[in-house]
Structures are given as C-alpha cells and as structure tokens.
C-alpha cells in the first residue's frame, strides 16, 4: 500500500535500530515519553521495544482520548441516552469506557439507550436530519485532532437550522496536559519519572503546528520531536531525541514534516476559535482537575450545546480504588505495576480506561506485549 508500506519497512527499521544502538552513550539512560496513544499503539503492535537498546525506555503518556475521559463525563452521555431518550452518537472506542454503576455506553445500549457509533460528525448530522422528531446528541471527545470536525458540524447545524442536534463537548487540549506532566512533583521535585524528552503528537500537530511545543523545549529544557504514527516515524524520532540529549540540545524538531508545519492548519484553528472558548477547568482521568485544559461551546452557539440545552450538572466520580490508570497516564507507573492488570482488569472487562482503547497503555501492553512479563 503506497504511503503506508514505506513507513513500515522492516529493513529500514533494522538500519535505524543499528543507528540508535550506535548513538546511545554507554552508561547513560534515556527516558522518553510518547505523548500520543497512536504512538503507544505503534510501539506495541510492531514490537518496537525489541529493537531498542536496553538503555532507551519509553514512557507512555496521556494522549489517548478515551483514556483521559473521566467517569462523570461518560455518565452524562449515558444519562442523556437512558433518561432523556436522545439518540446519542459516539466514536467507536468510547463505547466501552467504564462509567458508574457498572455501565458503559455499550451496556447502556443493551438497556435500551439509542446509542449509535459514527465514523464522523457528518454521520451524526445526517442522523439528526433523518430523525427530526428525536433529539440527537453528538458525544464530542478527543484532542485537537477531532475538535475541528466538531466545530464544522456545529456551524453547519446552525446554518441549516437543525433544531434537534446538539453537542456534548468534552474536547481537551494537548499543551495543557504536557504542562501538567512537566509540572507534576514526580517529574519536577522527586525525579521519580525521569523524562529526557517527548515524542510529540502526530495528528494533533497537523492542526496546532509545532509552535506550541517551543515553550516546553525552552522553559523545561526538554527536547520534543514531532513524529508520525507509523513505526519508522517513531524509530526515527527516537534517534533524533537521543542525538539531542547527547548534544545537550532541547529543541522542537519535526520528523513528521510531510504533514506538520510550524503554524499548523490555520483554517481549522479559525473554525475552532469561532465555535469554542477555553473552559476555566476540566477534570481529566489521571491528571484530575487541570485549569484551562479543555474547550466549551461559545454563547453564540448555546442552542447547540447539550450541557446548556439539557441543563446537565457535571458530577465528578472517583476511579476504582485499585485502578492505577491515573499514575499510568502520568507515566509514574507501568501497566504491569498495577495490581489488577490482567487479573480483574482485562480488555473484556475493563476497570480503568487505559484498558479500553487499543491506544491505551494497558490495552496495548495486554494485547501485544504481556508475554514478556511471563517468560
């Protein structure tokens, strides 16, 4: 497959692996966080850690959209479906995120909720047009990648006068999450999470560009290499990070130049700014309440805001006590450090959100790598 196979070439991977092995300095450890779940998935699926020297350790970051979605937000969506009788449209892997009372959107569907998986906001708009007598709510989640399509849907519904469509907005911001991790005591004071650099987001960066990361490189002296989601992208980025560390540099470099520019997609940014504004604070799973880390719908489009329209009250719900998702999302623990990993918590019966999506650190390790813990 063109434009895909080139980035999954095993021979090139071996060459890159040799370069990385030749570039790491003896006696030195390298610890890099891949922010995105897409990178986590690629690392596990292609077995990349087998190709890295033991001194390079990858730490999984919080960039998995369904993993950072707190229970209270899923509860809101479930209540809309079960108590208000709306048609709730959602992206695929949100369906299995555990919520209160042993429910998930998938289980709420079995209890009679009209919950439909969509591939895009266009599908949700079409469902609203096809069901004029029903309220249709799009459960909008994700980082900057999925935000512009939500903005477009809201503007389109507004322009069409689509009265039965609204959006439950849970969009979050990548830079706030990175700051939160860099400011955490584990990284800043205690040094329990050694972080020598970041693999920067792929798809998110196509929208926001590479500029927002310059602050982190400068302020926190951490190198950032933006990388695509293909396995060779990740390998190349690791090599670039090792070089930066060796040379004492802390810069933003762009491995994903085929899709990311310094300014990003300005049109998409404009649309987002027209429709959304910053929330004062937002609860994340794992990172708890993070100030100015998420978006809400502007007053101008209030009629399309499900939170206002249905007068929803957000209620924070604590995670299961045994669940280590919080620590795993901050890079403090690894999936296999969690007591319930692979015993009580499995992909069939996830307790924490990291076990849900194949981008989640726990699900990726369980599905692709757990044999390594056993041999």
């Amino acid at each position: 497959m063109k434009y895909i196979d080139e980035f999954r070439d095993g021979e090139l991977a071996k060459n890159l692996a040799q370069s990385i092995a030749a570039t790491v300095q003896p006696g030195r450890n390298y610890s890099f966080m891949e922010f995105c779940g897409g990178h986590t998935h690629a690392i596990s699926r292609y077995g990349l850690s087998d190709l890295l020297p033991p001194s390079v350790r990858m730490v999984h970051g919080p960039g998995c959209p369904v993993c950072v979605l707190p229970i209270g937000r899923v509860d809101l969506a479930i209540r809309l479906a079960l108590e208000r009788g709306v048609i709730l449209c959602t992206y695929g892997d949100t369906l299995r995120v555990p919520a209160s009372d042993g429910l998930s959107l998938m289980k709420a569907k079995a209890r009679g909720g009209d919950i439909r998986m969509v591939y895009s906001t266009i599908d949700a708009l079409q469902i609203a047009r096809d069901n004029p007598e029903r309220e249709v709510v799009f459960f909008a989640i994700g980082f900057e990648t999925t935000t512009p399509p939500t903005a477009v849907a809201i503007q389109q519904a507004d322009a069409e006068g689509l009265k039965n469509f609204s959006v439950l907005c849970c969009h979050v911001l990548t830079p706030s999450a990175i700051s939160n991790i860099l400011e955490s005591p584990e990284v800043r004071q205690w040094g329990t999470v050694p972080l020598d650099g970041f693999i920067g987001p792929a798809h998110v960066s196509t929208v926001i560009g590479s500029r927002p990361y310059e602050f982190f490189a400068e302020e926190y002296r951490k190198p950032v290499v933006i990388a695509g989601f293909e396995p060779l992208d990740v390998m190349q980025a690791i090599l670039m990070l090792v070089r930066q560390v060796n040379e004492g540099r802390a810069e933003v470099e762009n491995e994903f130049a085929r899709a990311v520019t310094r300014d990003g997609n300005l049109k998409a940014q404009d649309r987002v700014a027209e429709v959304f504004e910053l929330r004062r604070e937002f609860e994340w799973r794992g990172l708890s309440v993070v100030p100015y880390s998420a978006l809400r719908i502007r007053q101008k489009y209030a009629a399309l805001d499900a939170e206002r329209r249905f007068k929803l009250d957000y209620k924070s719900v604590p995670d299961n006590k045994a669940c280590e998702c919080g620590a795993i999302l901050r890079g403090v623990k690894r999936p296999q450090d969690c007591k319930i990993f692979g015993t009580v918590c499995t992909p069939e019966n996830p307790i924490g959100s990291c076990m849900v999506s194949s981008e989640g650190a726990c699900a990726a390790h369980y599905s692709y790598g757990r044999y390594k813990d056993m041999h």
């Binding site: 497959m1 895909i4 999954r8 070439d9 095993g10 991977a13 071996k14 995105c36 779940g37 897409g38 998935h41 596990s44 699926r45 292609y46 077995g47 990349l48 850690s49 087998d50 190709l51 960039g63 998995c64 959209p65 369904v66 992206y91 695929g92 892997d93 949100t94 369906l95 299995r96 998938m106 998986m117 591939y119 989640i141 994700g142 980082f143 990648t145 999925t146 798809h203 989601f229 396995p231 499995t346 992909p347 069939e348 999506s357 194949s358 981008e359 699900a363 369980y366 599905s367 692709y368 790598g369 757990r370 044999y371 056993m374």
Partner: protein, 354 residues
C-alpha cells in the same frame, strides 16, 4: 357471476409482494410459499417427501459405514446482499464448511427461515435461488426445512439457520486439540475479504477494485487435500474473529503456542487499505471461504501443492509454526523483526479515535 375455478390459487406476487403473517400461520398461504418458492428451487427427492422429517439412507463413505458429523450455524448478516454473495449462499457455505473441516463428506442440509413481516418476496426469491445454486454446486441437498414469520420490527428481514450432516470415515480424526509443536500452519488464501466486503458496503465505501466476499464451499478443496494422504491435524474455517480467533482456539485446545510471520500472511492490498481506513486489523476480520490448516511439517509442501492446484487454494501459503509454550500464546514476528502477541479479540473491533 363468474364461475368458481376449483383449486385455483393466485400465484405468489414475487415482484411486488411481501411476507405477511399468514405466510407463517400454517394455512394455505404458507403451503403456497413453500411450494412456489422453497420447494421449487431447493427441491430434491428427500424434500419432496413432504413429511415432517426426511427419511435418508444410512450414510456410508466409499461403501463403508462411517461416523456422523453434524454442525449448525445461524446467519444474521447485514446487509443481506453484499459484493460476492448474499445470506442465501452464505447459509449453505457456512454449514457445509463446518462439516467439511472435520474431514467429513457433507451429505445433507436442513434450513430454518425466520422471516419478518413485510420482507419483499422478490428478495426472498433471490435468496432462495442463491441457496439452491450454492447447494447444487457443493453437491449437498437441502432435505428438510422450516419457515416462521415474526411481526414487523421483531426480526431483521430474514434470519437463516442451517444444519448439516456428513459422514466421516473411520480412522480419520481432525481436531483443534491435535496440534503439536513442530507442526506448520498454512492458509488457503488471502485473509479478511468477507468481513471487509460487508463492512465497506455498510459504510458505503467504494474502492477502485471492488472487494468481494470470499464465500465458498470448501468441501472440494478439502477432498483434494485429504486425497494426498498428508498428516493433517486440524482444519478450521476462520469465520468470526478471523485468523486470530481461530489460532487462539487451537492453541488453547492443543495446549501449544504459535509463531506467525507477519510478512508471510496474505492480505490483498485493497483489503489492507480498507482495514487501514476503517481502523481494523485484517487478522481479526471474518472469512467465509478460507481454510486454516495445521499439519505435520514434513507434509507441508505436499499439501500446499495440492491446495494450489485447486481454484479455492490458488494462493495457499505457509504462515507460521506451532511451538511449545505453556501460556498458549499466539505470537507474531512483525515485519519489523519485533515480536508481539496476536491476542483474542475483546468484544468487537472498534475504530480508534486518534
């Protein structure tokens, strides 16, 4: 006043007519549906007996008595018509294959239809004709059947359940618990075609090269393989859950591990592209006309040769080895040279967001 024609029944309106509750109520309409549609297309000497059950001769294999093999499968596919097939031929192939992979010669089928009130008779006719064609091609007659009608909204148009009976010669034993370390794993052709054909139709995706379901009866291919006398351990058709589910089942049943080689696993470029697009992994996508073969390593080449000589096994190839592993993991050496598990699927495959 016109003369009453004795015994005249207006034929079924196969163009614009629809299934209604009377077609399942046991009266004249039901008899008419059976005779004008089911019996007409599927008819054979056993179905023609017209009794509550079919009386069949005791099965023999090459003149010798054998053991009976029985399998059943319910079909609930949506959409009902898809590129490369429909629910009718699928319901024949699925059950014929379940019997054939046991090493048995499939002999007879029984078919149960659950129809939803309002279902177009024209669609039903197309489906029954397709079933009849598939049964004829496979050489396995439908010898008994049943029809029920449920109220509108209580079915999804049509459900078809088929049961198959076959005869297995004494001395031939194939099964999921017989794989041994050192055996080789073969497949009869490219993976994921059926599931992707269905899904791209559902999502209204079209590709330059249309993706067709691989639905087919495998009893002919299996005959050719058995004729080689190769040391077969286990045959399976990797339907729901795809190759990954099938191999995990066998690994668990046999108490072994497996090592696959990603580069050896055949997936058509257009199927790979569609999977990439839909967020699916072809290893977990359903097939309806493919075989997974576990056999003695020494006979691998012999079997591959016989498979490639058959139209349904043209692209047969070696994809991995059975290995010793107390954890019964199915592992894969990736195209990258790294290793990973090929795990059971957890629920449905759901597309990722990012």
């Amino acid at each position: 006043m016109g003369e009453v024609k004795r015994g005249y029944v207006r034929p079924l309106d196969l163009k614009n007519g629809r299934v209604d509750m009377t077609h399942g109520s046991g009266g004249r309409s039901m008899v008419q549906l059976i005779s004008e549609l089911f019996a007409k297309h599927l008819g054979n000497e056993y179905l023609g007996q017209g009794n509550d059950g079919a009386v069949l001769p005791a099965p023999t294999f090459n003149g010798k008595p054998g053991r009976l093999v029985m399998a059943t499968d319910s079909h609930v596919v949506s959409p009902l018509f898809f590129p490369g097939g429909d629910i009718g031929c699928l319901s024949v192939h699925g059950t014929v294959n379940d019997v054939a992979v046991m090493g048995a010669k499939p002999l007879y089928l029984a078919a149960g239809f659950i129809l939803e009130e309002g279902f177009p008779l024209a669609d039903l006719a197309r489906i029954v004709e397709s079933m009849a064609r598939a049964a004829k091609e496979a050489g396995v007659p439908v010898v008994t059947g049943d029809t029920k009608v449920v109220e509108r909204g209580k079915g999804d148009g049509i459900f078809i359940s088929t049961t198959g009976v076959g005869v297995l010669p004494d001395g031939l034993d194939l099964g999921g618990s017989l794989a041994r370390p050192g055996d080789v794993i073969l497949v009869s052709g490219s993976l994921g075609d059926h599931g992707v054909a269905i899904m791209s139709k559902r999502e209204n995706l079209s590709f330059d090269a249309p993706i067709e379901s691989d639905t087919a009866a495998l009893n002919g291919l299996i005959d050719a393989m058995l004729a080689t006398g190769a040391g077969l351990r286990c045959l399976r058709d990797p339907t729901r859950g795809g190759l990954a589910a099938t191999l995990n089942e066998i690994a668990t049943q046999s108490g072994v591990g497996m090592m696959l080689y990603e580069q050896a696993i055949p997936v058509k470029p257009v199927v790979a592209a569609a999977c990439e697009f839909l967020g699916l992994d072809p290893l977990y996508v359903a097939n309806e006309g493919k075989l997974v073969v576990i056999c003695n390593a020494l006979d691998g080449e012999l079997l591959l040769k016989a498979m490639r000589a058959h139209p349904l096994g043209r692209d047969a190839c070696f994809i991995g080895d059975v290995i010793a592993d107390d954890h019964h993991f199915v592992q894969m050496t990736t195209a990258f040279g790294g290793k990973r598990i090929v795990d059971w699927l957890a629920g449905d495959q759901l597309p990722r967001i990012c």
